[in-house]
């Protein structure tokens, strides 16, 4: 068993299985871009009919454990090795997923994600470093990414307040939708 939890990749695909943002941390498993695309295709076709909208779902494909969650036309996946603790993978997924929700102000769908691709990529970068989970708390993650893009002139206290408001609104809309 690996000594340290390792994430092999994080994928964000659209409703047709096309890439929105992906990041691979293991070139051994998928050495070529062909292998990567083939993997994404398999993962997408095997999961797109499932309902992973309320709770994260999980499956095993080719001896990888994959946890995934969908929202609107976006499909989020986190892949780990066969003997990985799936609950850890799920917490990585949840952290990343919620952070993206905060960054996109609750409006999580493909065109919005592409509009803010820089935020998504930065968020990926802050979630995992070379396969090792760097941060799994959504609020901290979002804060780390967002603080870079807020005007550096704005006072610090206001920034966090604005952030808090975003978070609150996001939570409210979600509870209303339930």
């Amino acid at each position: 068993m690996q000594a340290c939890p390792q994430v092999k990749n994080i994928l964000v695909l659209d409703s047709e299985g096309k890439r929105v943002a992906v990041k691979y941390y293991s070139d051994e498993d998928w050495p070529t871009s062909g292998a990567k695309e083939a993997f994404e295709k398999t993962v997408f076709t095997k999961t797109h009919k499932t309902n992973a909208r309320t709770e994260a779902e999980v499956t095993m494909i080719d001896s990888y454990v994959i946890v995934y969650k969908f929202v609107e036309d976006l499909h989020f996946f986190v892949t780990g090795g066969e003997d990985q603790n799936e609950v850890i993978l799920a917490s990585v997924l949840q952290g990343f997923f919620d952070a993206v929700g905060i960054l996109l102000r609750g409006n999580v769908e493909k065109s919005e994600a592409l509009e803010n691709l820089d935020l998504i990529l930065l968020c990926l970068d802050e979630t995992i470093d070379g396969g090792v989970p760097l941060q799994t708390d959504a609020a901290v993650l979002a804060n780390k990414v967002a603080s870079h893009n807020i005007d550096s002139g704005a006072p610090l206290s206001e920034q966090t307040l604005a952030q808090a408001l975003v978070t609150a609104r996001e939570h409210l809309t979600r509870s209303l939708l339930k």
């Binding site: 051994e28 499956t59 603790n85 799936e86 930065l122 893009n149």
Partner: protein, 887 residues
């Protein structure tokens, strides 16, 4: 969430699928990247261009070397900007471009400046970027800063340095190992994630030092670990320590209490990690298992699919070794059969199949039949494999299970699925004699309508082997001959071979087979015609009925004992030469593959969902081939039994040696599998010197040294001993590895001319009574028992003394005798005070042995056993008692 799945109508799809990257093109973006060179930088615009570049890379676009270098140089200009957002994108871009060493120098100073900046975000990211692109030389320059960063009060900076350390340890271990003190300090950090990263790094630094890891675990399990992730790591390290210390401890397992305590942790990931760790403890007892099973059972009814999956996946594994422990969860498991998530449902089914008892088989099969129609092929394969092992466990139920298999064989399905079913039926036919006739007929029916050439030919081949041995071989002929009419050439050719086999094996069928074969002489395909002609001529189809010669049978249907690779090389040489080809000149020795070739397909085979680990290729066959390829050993005949390899060296020593004991009637052959793990050495004339002074009944015959043993390319050397025929002689042997060492130049791979004699002490090996016993099961113990005469029975009672548990006593006796437990009787129910175990095996001299063991607790931990042995030879029954009495 009742959120409706908004189906966007088509016209909206076309237009509203607006993407900021629509029509994006690499050339244009590279042009745009020129804005990086503007004297007045526009941070916003630059950020956008970087995003576009990253988008292209993310979509799988690649930059040529020249393009990448150009972009890299342009990007470095952006360090002038003080815009925070742009700097962040800049870091990302540099990491994605993974610049070459000479390019790295250009950004080093900028990054080092950022590393010492006042902004924590700059520092954290600069560390990560720099460590990602750095090489060893640069690393020593920045080492000082990294050490400081590890103990930085800002958790983001500390984590960045620690995670970078984890990566750098792979490439520059000697540098990172110097950071131990700082990392150790970081383990005590109050920030949860810093503690997690520090613990991961500290363990990796010390992973080869058992004592240090043990100390680390001891101190941390007593203290408090804040982060659930760190707690998970600690659980992993703890079970590693338990694993390594397990062998020499009696009584309570160290650290078990810690693992058990983690089951009450508030974080689910920790609970699960601990439960899994407990189930994976080697030789775990039912008492230890119980609390872990209880929390997993709770997970089974969780609303979160991930938890249900995690629990059922773990229980599935437990069911392989401790089916009794999982039965408590059966009710929860049965409700999971209808789980929305098919992975969970499949795992639940296969677990139930493993834990079910004979009486529940029929009910389960009914549930599975409904379930099979709506799952994908890959899940069906898993179910088929589970059913196969169930059938082997309860041979009496073969009828229901075989029916199930033949039903699903008729349904739609892809090649892999059908192959799994066919393979299962074949295995059942082989292992359950009663199932043979019905199984063969199912296969015959299947090839009547089979779209897969490969499966048809395989089945035809199998029919050729098994069909003639049945009570009425003639009934298969029709199915086989139909293939000759209706199939493609490949299948037709296979059918002709099968027909010929029937002709050769069953004399009464010969004339009729010849008639059929003669018709094949007019086939449109030449391979089919050739085969028919060959068989007709060699089997004597010229009208008169003759006994088919043994040599002819061997020639036609015998196995090719030559490795195909060798045959290929010889044939290549033959094509180029003038000499006639002689099959006997082809070497039979299996060449060890060159190093490079072996490393290439390093990827592990996907084992599929929850599938049991693929069985190793039949080792017995492999041994037989290996032994018969060596002239000195081939003359000994066929080995009666080959043991599992026993390690004679500790892990991670210079030379790894394990031994396989091959038992013959009059000889014992020790096969030493040696691996040289030092790249700078080549070993020659490797042999093992065996001292048999503690094994009086054995006398040395010969030793076959290994000519050369290059790095990481395993080789074998053999030592042969003679022993009295048929006697289960036992003894201890001490071993010393002798060889000539030659230095190898790591650059050229060439070895020095001169070598030095050297030797290496190996651990002792022992020939025990169990080596003379083959594990051979019987499908119905009672029948087998009663079929042996009562005169051949020997009964006696033994006191086994104080034992840890009943189960431990049962296992001890089973491994002492080396016999196969039957009907799942090796599993002792928890809390039971008595147990009956049924064993079966074949003793040397091919004598079938059955044993019935009744265990009972006579006092606190005091175990007594009544042993009844029956065998075809009363002397063997006595011998078994002697083994127990002296063991």
């Amino acid at each position: 969430m009742a959120q409706p799945l908004v189906k966007k109508d088509d016209d909206r799809d076309d237009e509203a699928e607006y993407s900021p990257f629509m029509g994006i093109e690499k050339g244009a973006v590279l042009q745009e990247a020129r804005v990086f060179n503007d004297p007045q930088l526009d941070p916003r615009r630059c950020s956008q261009v970087i995003t576009k570049l990253l988008y292209l890379l993310n979509q799988g676009e690649t930059f040529t070397k020249v393009e990448a270098t150009e972009v890299f140089f342009a990007v470095t200009k952006l360090f002038q900007s003080r815009d925070v957002g742009l700097r962040r994108m800049l870091y990302l871009m540099i990491k994605e471009l993974s610049p070459s060493a000479d390019e790295v120098i250009i950004v080093t100073s900028s990054l080092m400046k950022d590393m010492n900046s006042k902004t924590d975000m700059y520092r954290a990211n600069a560390i990560r970027v720099l460590c990602r692109i750095t090489d060893g030389v640069l690393l020593t320059q920045i080492e000082r800063y990294l050490k400081q960063a590890i103990v930085d009060k800002n958790p983001v900076v500390a984590s960045a340095a620690l995670v970078s350390g984890i990566h750098l340890l792979q490439t520059n271990p000697e540098v990172v190992k110097r950071w131990s003190n700082e990392v150790q300090e970081a383990v005590q950090s109050r920030a949860a994630l810093v503690q997690f990263h520090a613990l991961a790094l500290l363990h990796q630094i010390r992973q080869n030092d058992r004592l240090a890891v043990s100390k680390l675990v001891t101190s941390l399990t007593r203290g408090t670990v804040r982060s659930p992730l760190a707690q998970c790591l600690l659980i992993r390290y703890t079970s590693q320590v338990i694993r390594e210390s397990a062998s020499n401890s009696q009584g309570d397992r160290p650290f078990y209490d810690f693992l058990e305590g983690c089951l009450r942790h508030k974080a689910e990931m920790v609970i699960f990690e601990a439960a899994r760790a407990i189930t994976e403890l080697s030789g775990v007892t039912s008492r230890e298992l119980t609390p872990a099973i209880t929390v997993l059972q709770l997970f089974l009814s969780s609303s979160k699919p991930v938890l249900r999956f995690a629990a059922v996946r773990t229980l599935n594994k437990v069911a392989m070794t401790h089916p009794m422990a999982v039965t408590n969860c059966n009710i929860d498991m049965e409700s999971l059969i209808s789980d929305q998530n098919r992975s969970i449902a499949t795992l639940a089914i296969t677990t139930l199949l493993k834990t079910g008892n004979e009486s529940s088989v029929d009910r389960l099969m009914k549930q599975i039949t409904n379930f099979m129609s709506d799952i994908a092929d890959e899940f069906k394969i898993v179910v088929v494999e589970a059913i196969r092992s169930l059938c082997l466990k309860f041979p009496l139920k073969y009828r229901a299970l075989m029916n199930f298999l033949s039903n699903i064989l008729r349904e739609e399905g892809g090649f892999e699925y059908k192959k799994a079913i066919v393979d299962s039926i074949v295995i059942l036919i082989r292992d359950i004699p009663d199932a043979k006739e019905s199984g063969l007929l199912h296969l015959c029916e299947f090839i009547e309508d089979c779209e897969f050439t490969y499966l048809s030919t395989q089945i035809l081949h199998f029919l050729g082997i098994e069909g003639p041995k049945t009570s009425d071989p003639s009934k298969y002929i029709r199915y086989i001959y139909n293939r000759v009419h209706l199939e493609n050439a490949t299948v037709r050719a296979a059918a002709v071979s099968t027909l010929a086999k029937f002709g050769a094996m069953v004399d009464s069928l010969k004339p009729r087979v010849f008639v059929l074969l003669r018709r094949c002489l007019f086939d449109s395909d030449d391979e089919v015609r050739d085969r028919a002609t060959l068989y007709l001529n060699t089997l004597g189809g010229d009208g008169e009925v003759v006994e088919t010669d043994k040599d002819v049978k061997e020639f036609l249907f015998g196995a090719l004992e030559i490795p195909l690779v060798n045959l290929e090389t010889s044939l290549r040489n033959y094509v180029a030469s003038e000499e006639a080809f002689d099959i006997n000149s082809v070497p039979k020795e299996v060449k060890s593959q060159p190093l490079a070739e072996k490393k290439a397909p390093g990827k592990k085979q996907p084992t599929g969902l929850g599938a049991p680990p693929a069985a190793p290729p039949s080792t017995v066959d492999a041994y037989e081939k290996l032994l018969s390829s060596i002239p000195e050993l081939a003359s000994l005949g066929k080995p009666f039994k080959s043991s599992a390899p026993t390690e004679l060296t500790e892990a991670e020593t210079e030379y790894a040696v394990n031994v396989v004991k091959h038992i013959y009637d009059r000889h014992v052959v020790f096969q030493y599998n040696c691996t040289n793990t030092i790249p700078e050495q080549l070993l020659e004339e490797v042999s093992v010197v065996v001292d048999s002074s503690d094994a009086e009944e054995f006398s040395f015959v010969l030793s076959k040294p290994l000519r050369s043993l290059p790095y990481d390319s395993p080789g074998q050397t053999f030592v042969v001993f003679e022993k009295p025929e048929g006697v289960p002689a036992v003894g201890k042997f001490s071993n010393t590895l002798k060889f000539i060492v030659k230095e190898v130049d790591p650059n050229t791979g060439e070895a020095d001319e001169d070598g030095v004699d050297d030797e290496y002490q190996l651990e002792e090996l022992e020939v025990v009574s169990a080596d003379y016993m083959q594990k051979v099961g019987v499908s119905n113990f009672r029948n087998a028992w009663e079929s042996l005469d009562a005169d051949l029975e020997r009964v006696d009672e033994y006191g086994l003394g104080p034992r840890e548990s009943l189960a431990e006593a049962v296992n001890a006796v089973i491994s002492l005798l080396g016999m196969q437990p039957c009907e799942g009787t090796e599993v002792v129910a928890s809390n039971s005070r008595s147990h009956t175990c049924l064993l079966s095996g074949v003793f040397i001299g091919n004598v079938r042995v059955l044993a019935r063991l009744q265990f009972g607790l006579t006092g606190p931990k005091e175990v007594a056993m009544k042993l009844a042995v029956k065998s075809e030879d009363i002397a063997v029954s006595d011998a078994i008692h002697e083994i127990v009495a002296s063991g």
